[in-house]
C-alpha cells in the first residue's frame, strides 16, 4: 500500500478539488486503508447526518415470495418472434415481387388483389418497377424494425456477467 494521505489531500478529496488522476489514486488508497478512510470520514460534514438516517427494512416475505416466483417457469416473450416472422415473410414477398417485376403485378391484378390500387400504378407513365421497389423498401424496413426490436429488447435486459 502506498503511504498514507496527507490532511491537505484528504481535505481536497472531500471538497472534490483533486484532479482526475489524484482522485483515482486517493480513492484506491482509501478503499484499502481503514485509517485514511476513517480520517476522511471525520472531515465529511454529512457524516453525522447520514448516521442518523434510519435504514428501511425489506418486507418479511420478500425471500419467500422470490423463491416461489423463481420456481415458476420463465415466460418466453413470443410476440417479438412473431414480429421477426412477419418481417421475414414480408422480405420474401418483397424479393418475390422484385424478381417477378411486372409479371407479379399482372398476376395480382388478374386475381383481383388490390386491383384498385395496382391499376393506378399500372398506368403507362409510371414504370412498373416503381411499386415493386416501394413494396420492397417497406417490407425490408418492417423486417429491419422487427430485428432491431429484438436486439434492443435483449440490450434492455440486465447484463449478466
Amino acid at each position: 500500500m502506498s503511504s498514507h494521505l496527507h490532511d491537505f489531500q484528504l481535505q481536497a478529496f472531500g471538497r472534490g478539488e483533486l484532479n482526475d488522476a489524484e482522485a483515482v489514486s486517493a480513492a484506491m488508497h482509501l478503499d484499502e486503508c481503514p485509517q485514511c478512510a476513517a480520517r476522511v470520514a471525520t472531515l465529511d460534514p454529512f457524516g453525522p447526518v447520514f448516521a442518523q438516517i434510519v435504514a428501511p427494512r425489506a418486507p418479511k416475505d420478500l425471500v419467500a415470495r422470490a423463491l416461489q416466483a423463481a420456481d415458476v417457469p420463465e415466460i418466453v416473450e413470443e410476440p417479438v418472434w412473431v414480429e421477426v416472422g412477419l418481417g421475414a415473410v414480408l422480405l420474401v414477398a418483397a424479393a418475390f415481387l422484385v424478381l417477378l417485376g411486372g409479371d407479379a403485378l399482372k398476376a395480382m391484378v388478374e386475381i383481383g388483389l388490390f386491383a384498385d390500387v395496382l391499376s393506378r400504378f399500372s398506368s403507362p407513365w409510371i414504370p412498373s418497377m416503381t411499386p415493386m421497389l416501394l413494396v420492397a423498401i417497406l417490407a425490408g424496413s418492417a423486417a429491419l424494425f422487427a430485428i432491431r426490436r429484438v436486439r434492443s429488447g435483449q440490450a434492455l435486459g440486465p447484463r449478466w456477467s
Binding site: V24, A27, P34, A51, Q52, A55, A66, A70
Partner: protein, 209 residues
C-alpha cells in the same frame, strides 16, 4: 438498525456468526463459505438458495427503495432482482464479488422500471427534482435526516446511486465502478458532483451540513 456512519466497513468488522454474505463485499471475490453456499445454491439445494437470498434481500430492498422512492415498486423490483439472481446463478463468475454482481442486477432492474414508467432517463444528469413520490418517510428520524433524505430524492438517479452505494451500502469506490461498469475516474467524478448537488439542495432547504 441505523447505518453506521464513517468509513466503509471491512470484512473483519463483520460478525463471524452472522448469516453468510452478511452484506460485505470481500476484496477480490468471495470467501470459501460463501463460495460453497453459492455452489450448493447453484446445484439446487433449497436451503442454500433460501440462505443466499436472505443474505442479500435487505441491501437489495434498500437500494431499490432509495432508487425508486416508492415502497410498492421497490418490493416488485427487489423480488425481480432476487428471482434473476437465482435464475442466472449459473452464469455468475464466482471470482467476482457477489454483492457487486447483485447490485448490478438490482440496478438494471431499476433502470427497466424507469423505462417502463417512461420517466426521465436514468443517466440524465439533470438537477430537476424527481417527479415521482420523492420523500421517504421511513421512521421517526431527525429533521436533518429528513432533510438529507429529501435532498437525496431530489438528485437524479445517476448521482443518487453513487451516494446510495457509498454512504448507505458502504461499497468501496472500486466496487461502485464494478457495479456501474464504468472507470473509477467516472465514479469519483459523479460522487464529487453528487455531493455538491446534495449540499446545494440541503442548504436550500435550510440545512447546514
Amino acid at each position: 438498525m441505523k447505518y453506521s456512519g464513517g468509513p466503509p466497513r471491512t470484512p473483519e468488522d463483520s460478525d463471524p456468526e452472522a448469516p453468510l454474505l452478511a452484506l460485505r463485499v470481500y476484496p477480490g471475490g468471495n470467501n470459501e463459505s460463501d463460495r460453497s453456499l453459492m455452489l450448493r445454491a447453484r446445484a439446487g439445494d433449497a436451503h442454500a438458495r433460501q440462505q443466499l437470498l436472505a443474505g442479500i434481500s435487505e441491501p437489495v430492498y434498500r437500494y431499490t427503495l432509495r432508487m425508486l422512492s416508492n415502497a410498492e415498486d421497490a418490493r416488485d423490483a427487489s423480488q425481480d432482482t432476487l428471482v434473476k439472481v437465482l435464475r442466472h446463478l449459473d452464469s455468475y463468475d464466482l471470482d467476482r464479488p457477489f454483492l457487486t454482481w447483485v447490485f448490478g442486477i438490482a440496478r438494471n432492474t431499476c433502470i427497466d422500471e424507469y423505462r417502463r414508467r417512461k420517466r426521465r432517463a436514468w443517466d440524465e444528469p439533470g438537477d430537476v427534482v424527481d417527479p415521482g413520490p420523492p420523500a421517504l418517510h421511513l421512521a421517526m428520524q431527525s429533521e436533518d435526516a429528513e432533510r438529507l433524505n429529501r435532498s437525496l430524492a431530489a438528485l437524479s438517479p445517476l448521482y443518487r446511486e453513487v451516494i446510495v452505494l457509498y454512504h448507505f451500502e458502504h461499497l468501496k469506490y472500486t466496487e461502485i465502478a464494478d457495479v456501474l461498469e464504468v472507470p473509477l475516474g467516472t465514479v469519483m467524478n459523479r460522487i464529487f458532483r453528487a455531493r455538491q448537488k446534495l449540499k446545494d439542495h440541503y442548504e436550500n432547504e435550510g440545512g447546514e451540513p
